[in-house]
């Protein structure tokens, strides 16, 4: 009934590979196609927050573009062929020629003498002129009144007067504009591009900005007496270009050893402290005293460097970007003070009253102190290059001439202004401007950069004299820059 049977194995061939290779086609779909549309977006308005790349200062000038497709003008090639050799020959000859050596064209009048054009005097008696500054247009002279011999705290009031020298009805005995100030004014600086703004420093430690175009209340901004601001008389104030082009901040230095950089908010009328520097001297391992600053100079060449002169005769080169913190902690301040000093020059024997950078050479500056000498320093060496005897008494201010690289002027305590010309062999002054009684000291002077013949000198009798300089003190001679370069490269003994 049952028998064994052997069946063949049944195999089912794989359809997987074939099914993948086969083409597929949709015949029908159960779901319908979806319709889509934008109903709403979350962002309402867009604005650019910030960009990483900086704006280009000036669009790069393109080289002259000529129309490539235009047919060449007829005869251009022949013209150039004719002319080329002649031109090259003349150019080479010109480069070697000595025909004009030493020749100087003189287009302007030559006045051989220094003469006084105006004497301006304020109404109040008993005030000394502490600082003069020309406006950026060169026609207005602003003078600060105060006293230079106050030792203790004083409560005298003073004023700031301006005279417009280009005005016809100039009355030397009455100022065009008088700003009354409750305390003594110690320093003044006119804004480099806006002729109406003047920054001033007060004996009480405050820094003020006046706007002379406002009739009612010229005070635009004033630092109050707070922990952030100065507590000691501020001796120097100047406008500093900030990083954003066209904006200026105010830098002030006081005898408490602090240098503060303020940003001025003109609409709101207030100062915002943006950086603070403190100069301290280590006297003992645990204590340090502040270095009283009497003068300060900003470099026109390097926006990071500034020079500071102190009451003790120290002369220091400082840097705005220094990151080391000041040694002693100051009481609660919003901006932490930093120690800016980078390099120290050979100290003088008296307070340094004035420092000025040369506008023609990046490494030179001149400093004046109460020992009656003016020292010419190079930024690279600690010892001075040249030491000139200006007078037997104090020297209050030195300033380089804006037109002649080798000339600078110094205001002395005897009332004279000495002008030195370094191109001369002898070290005696090239010109001496003397006027009035010798008891009155000349405390400040300022060259007019727009009109380089004018020099303003302020004295302790309250008068400001405007002097017109002679041609040989203002006109540049050939090769002066080379001579200055040679002086700067000397190595001091």
């Amino acid at each position: 009934m049952f028998t064994d049977e052997a069946l063949d194995a049944v195999s089912v061939r794989s359809l997987w590979r074939k099914s993948h290779q086969a083409a597929q086609d949709s015949r029908g779909c159960q779901t319908r196609a979806l319709h889509r549309a934008e109903a709403e977006v979350q962002t309402v308005s867009t604005a650019v927050g910030c960009t990483q790349t900086e704006l280009q200062e000036r669009a790069a000038e393109r080289l002259f573009q000529q129309n490539q497709n235009e047919p060449e003008p007829p005869g251009l090639r022949d013209f150039l062929q004719r002319v080329e050799d002649t031109v090259i020959r003349e150019l080479v000859r010109n480069a070697r020629s000595h025909a004009f050596d030493g020749f100087q064209a003189n287009w302007e009048d030559h006045s051989q003498q220094v003469s006084r054009t105006h004497v301006c005097k304020a109404q109040e008696e008993g005030l000394h002129v502490t600082s003069v500054s020309w406006s950026c247009t060169g026609s207005v002279i602003a003078c600060a009144y105060g006293r230079i011999d106050t030792g203790d705290w004083s409560t005298d009031s003073s004023c700031v007067c301006t005279w417009n020298l280009d005005r016809r009805g100039l009355r030397p005995n009455q100022a065009d504009l008088v700003i009354d100030v409750p305390t003594l004014v110690t320093a003044l600086c006119c804004h480099p591009s806006q002729p109406a703004l003047i920054a001033g420093a007060l004996y009480s430690g405050e820094v003020v900005v006046w706007d002379t175009s406002r009739i009612q209340d010229p005070v635009v901004a004033q630092t109050g007496l707070s922990a952030d601001s100065h507590r000691e008389p501020v001796h120097q104030v100047s406008w500093v270009p900030l990083q954003k082009k066209g904006e200026f901040g105010v830098l002030s230095a006081c005898s408490g050893g602090r240098v503060l950089l303020w940003a001025v908010d003109l609409e709101q009328g207030r100062f915002v402290q943006s950086a603070s520097y403190a100069l301290l001297q280590q006297q003992a391992p645990s204590s340090s005293s502040s270095v009283g600053i009497t003068s300060m100079a900003l470099s026109p060449w390097d926006s990071d460097t500034f020079l500071v002169g102190s009451e003790g005769g120290l002369l220091l080169r400082c840097s705005f970007s220094s990151q080391t913190l000041a040694a002693a902690p100051f009481e609660s301040q919003s901006v932490t003070p930093r120690a800016p000093a980078v390099f120290s020059f050979r100290p003088r024997s008296g307070p340094v009253h004035s420092i000025h950078y040369s506008p023609f050479h990046r490494n030179l500056f001149v400093s004046a102190s109460t020992d009656g000498l003016a020292h010419l320093h190079s930024l690279l060496q600690a010892s001075p290059l040249l030491s000139l005897r200006v007078s037997d008494s104090y020297v209050f201010q030195v300033q380089w001439s804006p037109t002649r690289p080798l000339v600078f002027a110094a205001a002395t305590g005897q009332g004279m202004v000495q002008m030195f010309d370094l191109s001369r062999r002898s070290l005696r002054p090239a010109a001496t401007i003397k006027q009035g009684a010798t008891g009155q000291a000349a405390t400040c002077l300022a060259f007019n950069c727009q009109n380089p013949h004018l020099l303003a000198v302020g004295k302790t009798d309250g008068t400001v004299s405007i002097w017109q300089l002679s041609a040989d003190l203002t006109e540049q001679r050939p090769r002066e820059s080379d001579q200055l370069e040679k002086i700067a490269n000397q190595v001091a003994e």
Binding site: L63, F64, E72, G75, L76, R77, D78, F79, L91, N94
Partner: protein
């Protein structure tokens, strides 16, 4: 092909002049005052072409008033630290050279 070669030749000649010692730049101006070729940038080219047009016309009229048979061949203007050399003909070639100290 020929035109390209010509253009190159003009460029080559101007470059040769501009490479001479002390030369700041050179430009060629047509008689109407329109600059044709130049090695300086746009604004300076236009400035030199515009300013010198009048001066060259004045110099030419001066020479011809004195002697009608004569004509201006070159004009040189020397300033404190550079010199401008203008050579006239069918076109004007203006070269500015910096003077040695």
């Amino acid at each position: 092909m020929f035109l390209v070669k010509q253009a190159e030749e003009v460029e080559a000649r101007m470059k040769r002049i501009a490479a001479t010692k002390g030369v700041i730049g050179t430009l060629v101006v047509n008689p109407d005052g329109v600059p044709l070729r130049s090695t300086l940038d746009q604004s300076m080219t236009l400035q030199y072409a515009g300013q010198l047009q009048n001066l060259v016309a004045l110099a030419r009229s001066t020479v011809r008033d004195i002697d009608p048979q004569n004509d201006l061949s070159a004009l040189r203007v020397r300033a404190k630290n550079y010199e401008i050399i203008v050579v006239t003909g069918d076109y004007l070639m203006i070269t500015i050279q910096k003077l040695p100290e």
